[in-house]
């Protein structure tokens, strides 16, 4: 019998706790497929961050470390500097990476830490129940912006890939999404590149995945995808923002 579909080895058998329609599951799978294809599970150390994806340490079959909120890039730096032969990735949400951990993120990028960062941008704090994130869109209603995000009061959303693309230590910065089969394929290629560049020792790599949070957006999974397409993608354009091999600087 021909096997046409299997679970990647780099994923454990523990069922995901993620909500229906949440894109964490797809991204976890893509990361795991890439780890399998590159044959690096045995030398990979993942760093789970605080947020919905903290339990990533249960889901990935490689060695895992759980970092304090926002500190995943610093923890990853510690692992990578101590074990340069290992492949080290972080898996961070927008609150973790772009609010409490922005300092660690910018400086890990500036040092050109040879790591891979998977960045889930769903414009909201998921685990704590839907508060405003640094990536929450202007006017977007959240638990802590009940009248919509007023930029005069709460400031503007941060476009992380654009911000990091000016830093010399960044080897690659690409924004993708997983709303369609085509885009899932693009996302996988970006994730694979972000790991390959680490294997080549090129520096800091980030893949920003524009993601859904149907539960905290108050939408059905289907409507959440549409909301992402109508609202997130115009503010967060997909594309490659930096790629040292392709000369995109």
């Amino acid at each position: 019998m021909t096997v046409t579909f299997t679970k990647p080895h780099a994923l454990t058998d523990i069922p995901f706790h993620y909500c229906p329609g949440c894109t964490h599951g797809i991204v976890h799978r893509l990361v795991a497929e890439v780890i399998d294809e590159l044959g690096i599970e045995g030398k990979t150390v993942g760093v789970a961050s605080v947020g919905c994806s903290v339990f990533a340490y249960n889901y990935f079959n490689c060695d895992m470390v759980q970092a304090p909120h926002g500190r995943a890039p610093a923890v990853a730096t510690g692992v990578k500097r101590a074990r340069p032969e290992d492949v080290v990735f972080t898996y961070q949400g927008d609150g973790d990476l772009a609010a409490i951990g922005m300092g660690e993120t910018v400086h890990a990028a500036a040092r050109g830490e040879n790591i891979t960062v998977i960045f889930i941008n769903n414009a909201i704090y998921g685990m704590t129940g839907g508060q405003m994130a640094p990536t929450t869109l202007p006017g977007q209603i959240t638990q802590t912006t009940p009248y919509g995000r007023d930029v005069k009061l709460a400031g503007y959303p941060i476009r992380v890939c654009e911000l990091l693309s000016s830093i010399d230590g960044v080897a690659s910065a690409q924004r993708v999404t997983v709303d369609t089969v085509k885009n899932v394929n693009v996302a996988k290629k970006a994730i694979k590149k972000a790991f390959q560049y680490q294997l080549e020792g090129l520096g800091y790599n980030i893949v920003e995945v524009v993601s859904t949070c149907p539960t905290n957006w108050g939408l059905t999974p289907k409507d959440a995808v549409k909301w992402l397409q109508d609202n997130m993608l115009p503010y967060y354009p997909l594309g490659t923002y930096r790629d040292v091999k392709e000369g995109i600087l």
Partner: protein, 355 residues
């Protein structure tokens, strides 16, 4: 090395750490610990080690967490305000059962305080170096030589008990020069760390270094287990030096820099026939309360001397448990007490003892 050399406390500490097998250092500049980082930045690259200057103490302690999680011997050093920033990471390190050496070369506080020597971080070191139920090993050297010796012990015991360890130094001990013998290569190999997240090489199940336990009973069991370990440490790892304690009626309790000044005051008072001695805690956690307890029968009064408004005195009172009066003399804010001040306090107490 192996021969007697004149070294600053901070530099001797750094060299001792290297000799003890530590090749990974992450830190952030702050006075008065600067020489530790400067020394490491010079030496570590030459021996295949890693020196990395982080963007903050918050980052440096988390780099320590990552390096320790991957199984290597690792340290950081800072001074008081920096330690406050590290407290989050220290809690996670303790909650993840990771060893790590943290140096606090104390300066005056609170706030930005000052840059002169202080012992006002005692509570922070022994009580509240982060959120949650945990302890770390805390060592208090009083000479440059002892600094060197304790660095090695702190690494060894941190590895043995899988917990963070601190050297509680201060600006005086860090900055002063004394003759010191740095031992030849101690060959102090860390134990096998089968728990480390360093890549499973497809030879074992994946390791997870984690401090999150969402089920209350699971977390409670884990914390209780950790506290059983702490009880064992309290039984077996208490350390203190006794100075002129054979017949002491006045018992000074002082550690680190203030113990040095107290020693001079004791010598002066002894010449005047005063029966005064000192218990000098070397471990601040576990607190050497056995030594205090053994001194109670002969003691008439305890005198705690600190460079703070009185923090360690709490532990002395707990150990004395109301059986004797516990007096205090302290200077704070970066002021070092003089031998004369302490001597005077001893003479006052001697009058009281006579009556």
């Amino acid at each position: 090395m192996g021969e007697k050399v004149l070294m600053k406390g901070n530099e001797a500490l750094a060299e001792a750490a290297i000799v003890a097998g530590c090749k990974h250092f992450f830190g952030y500049p702050i006075t008065p610990q600067t020489e530790v980082a400067a020394y490491m930045s010079k030496r570590l690259p030459k021996i295949g080690g890693v020196y990395l200057q982080a963007e903050s103490e918050v980052a440096s302690i988390n780099m320590v967490l990552g390096a320790s999680a991957s199984g290597v011997r690792v340290m950081t050093s800072t001074s008081s305000p920096g330690l406050s920033l590290m407290s989050e990471g220290i809690s996670y390190i303790a909650g993840s059962d990771l060893p790590a050496l943290i140096i606090n070369v104390q300066r005056g506080g609170p706030g930005l305080g000052g840059i002169q020597p202080s012992q006002a971080d005692y509570w922070q070191a022994t009580r509240s170096s982060g959120h949650g139920d945990f302890h770390m090993l805390v060592f208090a050297p009083s000479t440059v030589q002892e600094m060197v010796d304790l660095v090695s012990d702190a690494f060894t015991l941190g590895d043995k008990y899988r917990m963070p360890a601190m050297i509680l130094s201060d600006g005086m001990l860090g900055q002063m020069m004394e003759p010191v013998v740095i031992p030849e290569n101690r060959n102090d190999k860390p134990p096998e760390k089968s728990w480390a997240a360093c890549g499973h090489q497809n030879k074992r199940e994946h390791n997870v270094v984690n401090s999150l336990y969402i089920e209350p009973h699971v977390l409670e069991d884990l914390v209780r287990e950790r506290f059983e370990k702490y009880s064992e440490i309290k039984r077996t790892e208490q350390r203190a030096e006794e100075y002129m304690m054979d017949d002491a009626e006045i018992v000074i309790v002082a550690y680190g820099a203030s113990s040095r000044v107290s020693r001079s005051a004791i010598d002066a008072a002894r010449k005047e026939g005063i029966k005064v001695g000192m218990i000098r805690p070397i471990t601040l956690w576990p607190y050497p309360d056995k030594y205090i307890g053994e001194a109670i029968p002969k003691a008439k009064v305890f005198l705690v001397v600190e460079m703070s408004m009185g923090q360690m005195i709490d532990d002395v009172k707990l150990a004395v448990n109301g059986e004797r009066p516990v007096e205090f003399y302290g200077r704070t804010g970066g002021v070092i007490p003089t031998p004369r001040e302490i001597h005077q306090k001893v003479m006052e107490l001697a009058e009281g003892v006579k009556q």
